[in-house]
Protein backbone atom coordinates (compact mmCIF):
# COMPACT_ATOMS: atom_id res chain seq x y z
CA UNK A 1 0.00 0.00 0.00
CA UNK A 2 2.79 2.34 0.88
CA UNK A 3 5.56 2.93 -1.46
CA UNK A 4 7.70 5.22 0.58
CA UNK A 5 8.36 2.89 3.44
CA UNK A 6 11.23 0.91 4.75
CA UNK A 7 14.81 1.18 3.74
CA UNK A 8 17.26 -1.69 3.78
CA UNK A 9 18.91 -0.48 6.91
CA UNK A 10 17.91 -2.50 9.95
CA UNK A 11 17.40 -0.15 12.82
CA UNK A 12 16.40 -2.52 15.52
CA UNK A 13 17.27 -6.13 15.70
CA UNK A 14 16.06 -8.63 18.22
CA UNK A 15 17.93 -11.88 18.23
CA UNK A 16 16.42 -14.93 19.74
CA UNK A 17 15.54 -13.46 23.11
CA UNK A 18 14.16 -15.33 26.03
CA UNK A 19 12.32 -13.51 28.79
CA UNK A 20 11.60 -14.76 32.28
CA UNK A 21 9.38 -13.05 34.82
CA UNK A 22 9.97 -13.47 38.52
CA UNK A 23 12.79 -15.91 37.86
CA UNK A 24 10.32 -18.64 37.05
CA UNK A 25 7.80 -17.70 34.40
CA UNK A 26 9.22 -18.19 30.94
CA UNK A 27 7.31 -15.98 28.55
CA UNK A 28 9.34 -15.45 25.42
CA UNK A 29 10.96 -18.55 24.05
CA UNK A 30 13.27 -17.23 21.42
CA UNK A 31 11.85 -14.28 19.55
CA UNK A 32 13.76 -12.70 16.69
CA UNK A 33 12.71 -9.76 14.64
CA UNK A 34 14.08 -6.96 12.55
CA UNK A 35 12.73 -3.48 12.27
CA UNK A 36 13.93 -1.66 9.18
CA UNK A 37 14.51 2.03 9.32
CA UNK A 38 11.58 4.05 8.13
CA UNK A 39 9.19 1.13 8.18
CA UNK A 40 6.09 0.24 10.07
CA UNK A 41 6.46 -3.21 11.50
CA UNK A 42 3.51 -4.90 13.12
CA UNK A 43 3.66 -7.45 15.90
CA UNK A 44 0.48 -9.48 15.92
CA UNK A 45 -0.84 -12.26 18.05
CA UNK A 46 -3.44 -13.28 20.55
CA UNK A 47 -3.73 -12.46 24.17
CA UNK A 48 -0.73 -13.38 26.16
CA UNK A 49 1.32 -14.14 23.10
CA UNK A 50 4.07 -11.93 24.41
CA UNK A 51 3.76 -8.79 22.33
CA UNK A 52 3.90 -6.44 25.23
CA UNK A 53 6.73 -8.38 26.73
CA UNK A 54 8.70 -8.10 23.54
CA UNK A 55 8.21 -4.36 23.39
CA UNK A 56 9.16 -3.98 27.01
CA UNK A 57 12.22 -6.08 26.50
CA UNK A 58 13.29 -3.67 23.78
CA UNK A 59 12.58 -0.53 25.75
CA UNK A 60 14.10 -2.03 28.86
CA UNK A 61 11.02 -1.57 30.94
CA UNK A 62 11.00 -5.22 31.89
CA UNK A 63 13.30 -4.59 34.73
CA UNK A 64 10.70 -2.75 36.72
CA UNK A 65 8.33 -5.69 36.37
CA UNK A 66 10.80 -8.17 37.71
CA UNK A 67 11.35 -9.62 34.31
CA UNK A 68 14.66 -10.15 32.57
CA UNK A 69 16.07 -11.05 29.23
CA UNK A 70 18.00 -14.21 29.84
CA UNK A 71 19.12 -15.10 26.36
CA UNK A 72 19.66 -13.43 23.07
CA UNK A 73 20.46 -9.88 22.26
CA UNK A 74 18.81 -6.65 21.26
CA UNK A 75 20.64 -4.24 19.00
CA UNK A 76 19.74 -0.77 17.97
CA UNK A 77 21.75 0.58 15.09
CA UNK A 78 24.00 -2.38 15.58
CA UNK A 79 24.71 -1.39 19.13
CA UNK A 80 23.77 -3.57 22.06
CA UNK A 81 21.13 -1.74 24.07
CA UNK A 82 20.04 -4.31 26.60
CA UNK A 83 22.01 -2.78 29.41
CA UNK A 84 20.92 0.78 28.91
CA UNK A 85 18.30 2.23 31.13
CA UNK A 86 15.05 3.34 29.55
CA UNK A 87 15.96 7.00 29.76
CA UNK A 88 19.14 6.47 27.79
CA UNK A 89 17.19 4.59 25.21
CA UNK A 90 14.75 7.45 24.84
CA UNK A 91 17.71 9.72 24.27
CA UNK A 92 18.78 7.38 21.52
CA UNK A 93 15.39 7.92 19.96
CA UNK A 94 13.37 4.89 20.99
CA UNK A 95 10.22 5.55 22.92
CA UNK A 96 7.43 3.27 23.96
CA UNK A 97 3.76 4.02 24.26
CA UNK A 98 2.61 1.64 26.90
CA UNK A 99 -0.38 -0.56 26.75
CA UNK A 100 -3.20 0.61 28.98
CA UNK A 101 -2.38 4.28 28.61
CA UNK A 102 -0.40 4.95 31.75
CA UNK A 103 -1.04 8.64 31.89
CA UNK A 104 0.17 10.72 34.79
CA UNK A 105 -3.15 11.03 36.56
CA UNK A 106 -2.45 14.10 38.58
CA UNK A 107 -0.82 16.08 35.83
CA UNK A 108 -3.00 17.99 33.43
CA UNK A 109 -3.31 16.83 29.87
CA UNK A 110 -0.92 19.50 28.74
CA UNK A 111 1.62 18.71 31.41
CA UNK A 112 1.40 15.10 30.38
CA UNK A 113 2.28 16.06 26.87
CA UNK A 114 5.13 18.23 28.05
CA UNK A 115 6.71 15.35 29.93
CA UNK A 116 7.20 13.81 26.52
CA UNK A 117 9.65 16.53 25.64
CA UNK A 118 11.62 15.87 28.80
CA UNK A 119 14.67 14.41 27.12
CA UNK A 120 14.84 17.04 24.47
CA UNK A 121 16.93 20.10 24.93
CA UNK A 122 14.50 21.93 22.69
CA UNK A 123 13.56 25.54 23.10
CA UNK A 124 10.23 26.69 24.44
CA UNK A 125 9.19 27.71 20.96
CA UNK A 126 9.90 24.33 19.37
CA UNK A 127 8.05 22.64 22.15
CA UNK A 128 5.07 24.89 21.72
CA UNK A 129 5.04 24.15 18.03
CA UNK A 130 5.03 20.44 18.70
CA UNK A 131 2.33 20.90 21.27
CA UNK A 132 0.22 22.57 18.67
CA UNK A 133 0.93 19.79 16.28
CA UNK A 134 -0.35 17.28 18.78
CA UNK A 135 -3.43 19.39 19.37
CA UNK A 136 -3.98 19.44 15.66
CA UNK A 137 -3.87 15.69 15.56
CA UNK A 138 -6.15 15.40 18.58
CA UNK A 139 -8.44 18.42 18.86
CA UNK A 140 -10.25 16.72 21.70
CA UNK A 141 -7.13 17.07 23.83
CA UNK A 142 -7.03 20.77 23.27
CA UNK A 143 -10.45 21.09 24.84
CA UNK A 144 -9.37 19.08 27.84
CA UNK A 145 -5.85 20.49 28.16
CA UNK A 146 -6.37 21.90 31.64
CA UNK A 147 -8.07 18.91 33.21
CA UNK A 148 -6.20 16.28 35.11
CA UNK A 149 -5.50 13.28 32.98
CA UNK A 150 -6.98 11.01 35.61
CA UNK A 151 -10.40 12.41 34.86
CA UNK A 152 -10.38 12.04 31.13
CA UNK A 153 -12.11 9.21 29.35
CA UNK A 154 -10.37 6.08 28.22
CA UNK A 155 -10.00 7.23 24.66
CA UNK A 156 -8.74 10.62 25.67
CA UNK A 157 -6.09 8.99 27.76
CA UNK A 158 -4.99 6.95 24.81
CA UNK A 159 -4.58 10.13 22.81
CA UNK A 160 -2.56 11.65 25.61
CA UNK A 161 -0.25 8.65 25.66
CA UNK A 162 0.39 8.80 21.95
CA UNK A 163 0.70 12.55 21.90
CA UNK A 164 3.21 12.36 24.70
CA UNK A 165 5.38 10.01 22.70
CA UNK A 166 5.22 12.24 19.65
CA UNK A 167 6.42 15.11 21.79
CA UNK A 168 9.76 13.41 22.25
CA UNK A 169 10.42 13.59 18.51
CA UNK A 170 11.57 10.02 18.43
CA UNK A 171 13.24 8.11 15.69
CA UNK A 172 11.44 4.94 16.63
CA UNK A 173 8.15 4.51 18.40
CA UNK A 174 7.11 1.25 20.00
CA UNK A 175 3.35 1.39 20.03
CA UNK A 176 1.50 -1.06 22.20
CA UNK A 177 -2.12 -1.50 21.19
CA UNK A 178 -2.80 2.02 20.03
CA UNK A 179 -6.30 1.18 18.90
CA UNK A 180 -7.50 -0.29 22.11
CA UNK A 181 -10.62 1.41 23.34
CA UNK A 182 -10.76 3.94 20.57
CA UNK A 183 -13.76 4.74 18.49
CA UNK A 184 -13.45 3.35 14.96
CA UNK A 185 -13.10 6.78 13.47
CA UNK A 186 -10.30 7.54 15.78
CA UNK A 187 -8.57 4.25 15.14
CA UNK A 188 -8.45 5.15 11.54
CA UNK A 189 -7.26 8.58 12.44
CA UNK A 190 -4.50 7.35 14.70
CA UNK A 191 -3.22 5.00 12.10
CA UNK A 192 -3.28 7.83 9.63
CA UNK A 193 -1.24 9.84 12.05
CA UNK A 194 1.16 6.95 12.33
CA UNK A 195 1.36 6.79 8.62
CA UNK A 196 1.84 10.51 8.39
CA UNK A 197 4.64 10.52 10.90
CA UNK A 198 6.22 7.63 9.14
CA UNK A 199 6.10 9.20 5.76
CA UNK A 200 6.68 12.81 6.58
CA UNK A 201 9.03 12.60 9.49
CA UNK A 202 10.48 9.23 8.75
CA UNK A 203 9.61 7.81 12.12
CA UNK A 204 10.05 4.08 12.41
CA UNK A 205 7.29 2.14 14.10
CA UNK A 206 7.08 -1.19 15.80
CA UNK A 207 3.52 -1.71 16.80
CA UNK A 208 1.84 -4.42 18.72
CA UNK A 209 -1.77 -4.70 17.73
CA UNK A 210 -4.75 -6.90 18.20
CA UNK A 211 -6.66 -5.16 15.51
CA UNK A 212 -4.98 -7.14 12.79
CA UNK A 213 -7.18 -5.73 10.15
CA UNK A 214 -6.06 -2.17 10.50
CA UNK A 215 -2.55 -3.06 11.46
CA UNK A 216 -1.93 -5.02 8.30
CA UNK A 217 -3.44 -2.29 6.24
CA UNK A 218 -0.91 0.22 7.44
CA UNK A 219 2.15 -1.87 8.18
CA UNK A 220 4.86 -2.89 5.79
CA UNK A 221 5.90 -6.02 7.49
CA UNK A 222 4.33 -8.23 10.10
CA UNK A 223 5.32 -10.81 12.66
CA UNK A 224 2.81 -13.13 14.25
CA UNK A 225 3.53 -14.23 17.75
CA UNK A 226 1.94 -17.15 19.53
CA UNK A 227 2.87 -18.34 23.01
CA UNK A 228 6.16 -16.56 23.02
CA UNK A 229 7.35 -17.63 19.59
CA UNK A 230 7.25 -16.07 16.18
CA UNK A 231 5.11 -18.40 14.16
CA UNK A 232 4.87 -16.49 10.94
CA UNK A 233 6.27 -13.40 9.36
CA UNK A 234 6.24 -11.70 6.05
CA UNK A 235 5.36 -8.54 4.20
CA UNK A 236 1.99 -7.22 5.26
CA UNK A 237 0.59 -7.75 1.83
CA UNK A 238 1.40 -11.43 1.88
CA UNK A 239 0.08 -11.89 5.34
CA UNK A 240 -3.19 -10.32 4.39
CA UNK A 241 -3.59 -12.85 1.65
CA UNK A 242 -2.66 -15.81 3.78
CA UNK A 243 -5.75 -17.94 4.35
CA UNK A 244 -4.86 -18.74 7.95
CA UNK A 245 -4.32 -15.16 8.84
CA UNK A 246 -7.53 -14.33 7.08
CA UNK A 247 -9.48 -16.82 9.07
CA UNK A 248 -7.98 -16.39 12.49
CA UNK A 249 -6.89 -12.80 12.59
CA UNK A 250 -9.04 -11.01 10.12
CA UNK A 251 -12.22 -12.92 10.84
CA UNK A 252 -12.87 -13.57 7.22
CA UNK A 253 -13.65 -16.79 5.56
CA UNK A 254 -13.86 -17.31 1.89
CA UNK A 255 -17.35 -15.95 1.87
CA UNK A 256 -16.29 -12.61 3.33
CA UNK A 257 -16.84 -11.41 6.83
CA UNK A 258 -18.76 -13.70 9.17
CA UNK A 259 -21.30 -12.41 11.56
CA UNK A 260 -20.32 -12.66 15.21
CA UNK A 261 -23.67 -14.29 15.77
CA UNK A 262 -22.74 -17.18 13.57
CA UNK A 263 -19.68 -18.18 15.51
CA UNK A 264 -19.54 -21.87 16.24
CA UNK A 265 -18.96 -22.85 19.78
CA UNK A 266 -16.02 -25.08 19.18
CA UNK A 267 -12.44 -24.10 19.17
CA UNK A 268 -10.94 -24.15 15.76
CA UNK A 269 -7.38 -25.21 15.38
CA UNK A 270 -4.65 -23.22 13.90
CA UNK A 271 -2.78 -25.31 11.47
CA UNK A 272 0.64 -24.16 12.53
CA UNK A 273 0.09 -25.04 16.13
CA UNK A 274 -1.10 -28.59 15.67
Amino acid sequence: MLDAGPTDETLLEVNNIEVIYNHVILVLKGVSLKVPKGGITALLGGNGAGKTTTLKAISNLLHSERGEVTKGSINYRGERVQDLNPAELVKKGVIQVMEGRHCFEHLTVEENLLTGSYTRGASRGDIDADLNMVYDYFPRLKERRRSQAGYTSGGEQQMVAIGRAIMSKPETILLDEPSMGLAPQLVEEIFNIVKGLNEKEGVTFLLAEQNTNVALRFAHYGYILESGRVVMDGPAKDLRENPDVKEFYLGMSDEGRKSFREVRSYRRRKRWLS
Partner: protein, 273 residues
Amino acid sequence: MSENKNEGYVTADGRKIGGTLMEMKNITLRFGGVKAITDISFDIKEGEIRAIIGPNGAGKSSMLNVISGFYVPQEGEVWYKGARRPSMKPYEVARQGIARTFQNIALFEGMTVLDNVMTGRLNHMKANMAQQAIWKGAAEKEEVANREVVEKVIDFLEIQSIRKTPVARLPYGLKKRVELARALAAEPSLLLLDEPMAGMNVEEKEDMSRFILDVNDEFGTTIALIEHDMGVVMDLSDRVVVMDYGKKIGDGTPDEVRNNQDVIDAYLGVSHD
Protein backbone atom coordinates in the same frame (compact mmCIF):
# COMPACT_ATOMS: atom_id res chain seq x y z
CA MET B 1 -39.71 0.29 16.27
CA SER B 2 -42.92 1.66 17.63
CA GLU B 3 -43.92 -0.72 20.35
CA ASN B 4 -45.62 0.33 23.52
CA LYS B 5 -43.26 1.40 26.23
CA ASN B 6 -43.77 -1.47 28.57
CA GLU B 7 -44.29 -4.19 26.10
CA GLY B 8 -41.79 -6.49 24.65
CA TYR B 9 -41.06 -7.17 21.04
CA VAL B 10 -39.70 -9.96 18.96
CA THR B 11 -36.26 -9.66 17.44
CA ALA B 12 -35.28 -10.35 13.90
CA ASP B 13 -33.96 -13.78 14.80
CA GLY B 14 -37.12 -14.59 16.68
CA ARG B 15 -36.19 -14.07 20.33
CA LYS B 16 -38.91 -12.71 22.57
CA ILE B 17 -37.97 -9.59 24.48
CA GLY B 18 -39.89 -8.74 27.67
CA GLY B 19 -41.08 -5.48 29.20
CA THR B 20 -38.95 -2.64 30.43
CA LEU B 21 -36.38 -3.70 32.99
CA MET B 22 -34.61 -0.42 33.45
CA GLU B 23 -35.42 3.04 32.35
CA MET B 24 -33.26 6.12 32.48
CA LYS B 25 -35.27 9.32 32.48
CA ASN B 26 -33.68 12.64 31.60
CA ILE B 27 -30.33 11.93 33.15
CA THR B 28 -27.90 14.81 33.45
CA LEU B 29 -24.47 14.39 34.99
CA ARG B 30 -21.90 17.11 35.50
CA PHE B 31 -18.38 17.12 36.86
CA GLY B 32 -17.69 20.65 37.84
CA GLY B 33 -17.88 22.40 34.52
CA VAL B 34 -17.75 19.28 32.38
CA LYS B 35 -21.12 17.99 31.28
CA ALA B 36 -20.63 14.29 30.83
CA ILE B 37 -24.27 13.44 30.21
CA THR B 38 -26.99 15.84 29.12
CA ASP B 39 -30.62 14.95 29.49
CA ILE B 40 -30.53 11.41 28.23
CA SER B 41 -33.41 8.98 28.38
CA PHE B 42 -33.56 5.40 27.19
CA ASP B 43 -34.78 2.07 28.37
CA ILE B 44 -33.49 -1.47 28.56
CA LYS B 45 -35.94 -4.30 28.13
CA GLU B 46 -35.83 -7.65 29.73
CA GLY B 47 -33.79 -10.16 27.84
CA GLU B 48 -32.40 -7.86 25.20
CA ILE B 49 -28.85 -6.96 24.33
CA ARG B 50 -28.62 -3.22 24.36
CA ALA B 51 -25.54 -1.48 23.04
CA ILE B 52 -24.33 1.98 23.86
CA ILE B 53 -21.94 3.47 21.36
CA GLY B 54 -20.39 6.81 20.73
CA PRO B 55 -17.07 8.54 20.28
CA ASN B 56 -14.47 8.70 23.00
CA GLY B 57 -15.48 10.85 25.89
CA ALA B 58 -19.13 10.79 24.88
CA GLY B 59 -20.21 9.73 28.35
CA LYS B 60 -20.87 6.03 27.81
CA SER B 61 -18.90 4.78 30.77
CA SER B 62 -20.37 7.54 32.85
CA MET B 63 -23.80 6.26 31.93
CA LEU B 64 -22.93 2.76 33.12
CA ASN B 65 -21.62 4.30 36.30
CA VAL B 66 -24.94 6.00 36.80
CA ILE B 67 -26.74 2.73 36.31
CA SER B 68 -24.53 0.94 38.78
CA GLY B 69 -24.92 3.72 41.31
CA PHE B 70 -21.33 4.90 41.31
CA TYR B 71 -22.15 8.31 39.90
CA VAL B 72 -25.18 10.14 41.16
CA PRO B 73 -26.71 12.24 38.38
CA GLN B 74 -27.63 15.80 39.19
CA GLU B 75 -30.91 15.41 37.40
CA GLY B 76 -33.06 12.58 36.22
CA GLU B 77 -34.53 9.36 37.50
CA VAL B 78 -33.57 5.76 37.28
CA TRP B 79 -36.39 3.23 37.14
CA TYR B 80 -35.63 -0.37 37.75
CA LYS B 81 -38.08 -3.27 37.64
CA GLY B 82 -40.99 -0.94 37.49
CA ALA B 83 -40.13 1.24 40.45
CA ARG B 84 -38.21 4.43 40.81
CA ARG B 85 -34.87 3.69 42.37
CA PRO B 86 -34.17 5.78 45.42
CA SER B 87 -30.62 7.05 45.86
CA MET B 88 -28.54 4.05 46.73
CA LYS B 89 -25.02 3.02 47.50
CA PRO B 90 -23.35 1.03 44.74
CA TYR B 91 -23.29 -2.12 46.81
CA GLU B 92 -27.02 -1.91 47.31
CA VAL B 93 -27.48 -1.59 43.58
CA ALA B 94 -25.34 -4.67 43.10
CA ARG B 95 -27.55 -6.56 45.50
CA GLN B 96 -30.52 -5.77 43.30
CA GLY B 97 -29.01 -7.99 40.67
CA ILE B 98 -26.92 -5.65 38.58
CA ALA B 99 -23.40 -6.81 37.79
CA ARG B 100 -20.81 -5.28 35.56
CA THR B 101 -17.35 -5.28 34.08
CA PHE B 102 -15.09 -2.28 33.79
CA GLN B 103 -13.38 -0.49 30.97
CA ASN B 104 -10.04 -0.33 32.73
CA ILE B 105 -10.01 -3.78 34.19
CA ALA B 106 -10.90 -3.71 37.86
CA LEU B 107 -9.92 -7.13 39.04
CA PHE B 108 -8.57 -7.80 42.48
CA GLU B 109 -4.96 -8.17 41.52
CA GLY B 110 -3.84 -9.74 44.73
CA MET B 111 -6.15 -12.72 44.42
CA THR B 112 -6.25 -15.79 42.26
CA VAL B 113 -8.69 -16.16 39.41
CA LEU B 114 -10.82 -18.47 41.48
CA ASP B 115 -11.03 -16.04 44.37
CA ASN B 116 -11.86 -13.23 42.02
CA VAL B 117 -14.72 -15.14 40.55
CA MET B 118 -15.83 -16.18 44.01
CA THR B 119 -16.16 -12.52 44.94
CA GLY B 120 -18.95 -12.45 42.42
CA ARG B 121 -20.85 -14.77 44.73
CA LEU B 122 -20.45 -12.64 47.84
CA ASN B 123 -24.03 -11.50 47.77
CA HIS B 124 -25.18 -15.09 47.81
CA MET B 125 -23.13 -16.08 50.85
CA LYS B 126 -24.75 -15.67 54.19
CA ALA B 127 -22.63 -17.40 56.84
CA ASN B 128 -21.81 -15.01 59.68
CA MET B 129 -18.41 -14.31 61.13
CA ALA B 130 -18.67 -16.80 63.94
CA GLN B 131 -19.65 -19.57 61.57
CA GLN B 132 -16.80 -18.69 59.31
CA ALA B 133 -14.31 -18.59 62.14
CA ILE B 134 -15.29 -22.15 62.99
CA TRP B 135 -15.48 -23.07 59.32
CA LYS B 136 -16.63 -26.65 59.72
CA GLY B 137 -20.36 -26.66 59.21
CA ALA B 138 -22.33 -23.80 57.72
CA ALA B 139 -19.42 -21.86 56.28
CA GLU B 140 -17.83 -24.81 54.60
CA LYS B 141 -21.13 -26.08 53.18
CA GLU B 142 -21.89 -22.71 51.76
CA GLU B 143 -18.42 -22.34 50.33
CA VAL B 144 -18.67 -25.64 48.52
CA ALA B 145 -22.14 -24.89 47.18
CA ASN B 146 -21.03 -21.57 45.78
CA ARG B 147 -17.84 -23.04 44.51
CA GLU B 148 -19.91 -25.35 42.36
CA VAL B 149 -21.70 -22.42 40.77
CA VAL B 150 -18.40 -20.70 40.18
CA GLU B 151 -16.84 -23.76 38.65
CA LYS B 152 -19.70 -23.85 36.18
CA VAL B 153 -18.97 -20.30 35.16
CA ILE B 154 -15.29 -21.12 34.91
CA ASP B 155 -16.03 -24.05 32.68
CA PHE B 156 -18.37 -21.97 30.65
CA LEU B 157 -15.74 -19.34 29.97
CA GLU B 158 -12.99 -21.90 29.52
CA ILE B 159 -10.62 -20.55 32.08
CA GLN B 160 -10.15 -23.77 34.05
CA SER B 161 -6.44 -23.91 33.47
CA ILE B 162 -5.75 -20.58 35.15
CA ARG B 163 -7.99 -21.13 38.15
CA LYS B 164 -5.24 -20.81 40.70
CA THR B 165 -3.16 -18.19 38.93
CA PRO B 166 -2.92 -14.75 40.53
CA VAL B 167 -4.68 -12.41 38.14
CA ALA B 168 -1.84 -9.92 38.14
CA ARG B 169 0.10 -12.27 35.92
CA LEU B 170 -2.58 -12.74 33.30
CA PRO B 171 -2.48 -11.10 29.92
CA TYR B 172 -5.04 -8.45 29.17
CA GLY B 173 -7.52 -10.56 27.25
CA LEU B 174 -7.75 -13.24 29.89
CA LYS B 175 -8.26 -10.62 32.52
CA LYS B 176 -11.26 -9.37 30.61
CA ARG B 177 -12.61 -12.85 30.56
CA VAL B 178 -12.08 -13.30 34.27
CA GLU B 179 -13.92 -10.07 34.84
CA LEU B 180 -16.80 -11.38 32.85
CA ALA B 181 -16.71 -14.56 34.90
CA ARG B 182 -16.89 -12.56 38.08
CA ALA B 183 -19.90 -10.67 36.85
CA LEU B 184 -21.60 -13.83 35.64
CA ALA B 185 -20.99 -15.61 38.91
CA ALA B 186 -23.29 -13.08 40.53
CA GLU B 187 -26.14 -14.44 38.38
CA PRO B 188 -27.34 -10.92 37.68
CA SER B 189 -30.57 -9.96 36.02
CA LEU B 190 -28.83 -7.06 34.33
CA LEU B 191 -25.26 -7.33 33.11
CA LEU B 192 -23.34 -4.21 32.17
CA LEU B 193 -20.28 -4.67 29.96
CA ASP B 194 -17.91 -1.78 29.35
CA GLU B 195 -15.86 -2.53 26.25
CA PRO B 196 -15.54 -6.24 26.91
CA MET B 197 -13.64 -6.82 23.71
CA ALA B 198 -11.15 -4.01 23.70
CA GLY B 199 -7.70 -5.33 23.10
CA MET B 200 -8.76 -8.64 21.62
CA ASN B 201 -8.14 -10.09 18.24
CA VAL B 202 -10.86 -11.38 16.03
CA GLU B 203 -10.66 -14.91 17.23
CA GLU B 204 -10.98 -13.83 20.81
CA LYS B 205 -13.77 -11.47 19.98
CA GLU B 206 -15.59 -14.33 18.44
CA ASP B 207 -15.19 -16.32 21.63
CA MET B 208 -16.34 -13.42 23.71
CA SER B 209 -19.34 -12.86 21.45
CA ARG B 210 -20.31 -16.43 21.86
CA PHE B 211 -20.14 -16.16 25.64
CA ILE B 212 -22.29 -13.07 25.62
CA LEU B 213 -24.85 -14.60 23.35
CA ASP B 214 -24.90 -17.77 25.37
CA VAL B 215 -25.42 -15.94 28.63
CA ASN B 216 -28.24 -14.05 27.09
CA ASP B 217 -29.70 -17.21 25.64
CA GLU B 218 -29.25 -19.66 28.44
CA PHE B 219 -29.96 -17.50 31.47
CA GLY B 220 -32.06 -14.84 29.81
CA THR B 221 -29.75 -12.22 31.25
CA THR B 222 -30.35 -8.70 30.05
CA ILE B 223 -27.15 -7.13 28.77
CA ALA B 224 -26.08 -3.55 28.27
CA LEU B 225 -22.89 -3.30 26.31
CA ILE B 226 -20.45 -0.60 25.34
CA GLU B 227 -18.20 -1.43 22.45
CA HIS B 228 -16.23 0.30 19.77
CA ASP B 229 -16.04 -2.60 17.35
CA MET B 230 -18.96 -1.90 15.08
CA GLY B 231 -18.97 -5.40 13.72
CA VAL B 232 -19.59 -6.77 17.16
CA VAL B 233 -22.15 -4.15 18.07
CA MET B 234 -24.15 -4.53 14.94
CA ASP B 235 -24.11 -8.29 15.07
CA LEU B 236 -24.90 -8.80 18.69
CA SER B 237 -27.19 -6.06 19.80
CA ASP B 238 -30.91 -5.82 19.51
CA ARG B 239 -31.07 -2.07 19.98
CA VAL B 240 -28.41 0.60 20.09
CA VAL B 241 -28.17 3.95 21.87
CA VAL B 242 -25.74 6.39 20.33
CA MET B 243 -24.20 9.16 22.41
CA ASP B 244 -22.07 12.09 21.42
CA TYR B 245 -20.76 14.80 23.72
CA GLY B 246 -23.10 13.63 26.42
CA LYS B 247 -26.18 13.82 24.25
CA LYS B 248 -28.22 11.09 22.73
CA ILE B 249 -28.07 11.30 18.98
CA GLY B 250 -29.66 8.05 18.02
CA ASP B 251 -31.58 5.09 19.35
CA GLY B 252 -32.92 2.10 17.51
CA THR B 253 -32.10 -1.18 15.88
CA PRO B 254 -28.64 -1.61 14.44
CA ASP B 255 -29.94 -0.99 10.97
CA GLU B 256 -31.68 2.20 11.93
CA VAL B 257 -28.64 3.49 13.69
CA ARG B 258 -26.29 2.53 10.92
CA ASN B 259 -28.15 4.66 8.50
CA ASN B 260 -28.74 7.61 10.77
CA GLN B 261 -26.86 10.54 9.28
CA ASP B 262 -26.09 12.11 12.66
CA VAL B 263 -24.51 8.90 13.81
CA ILE B 264 -22.50 8.58 10.68
CA ASP B 265 -21.21 12.10 11.03
CA ALA B 266 -20.37 11.90 14.66
CA TYR B 267 -19.10 8.43 15.03
CA LEU B 268 -19.01 5.97 12.24
CA GLY B 269 -17.37 8.16 9.65
CA VAL B 270 -18.21 5.78 6.87
CA SER B 271 -21.18 3.50 7.00
CA HIS B 272 -20.13 0.10 8.21
CA ASP B 273 -21.65 -3.05 7.09
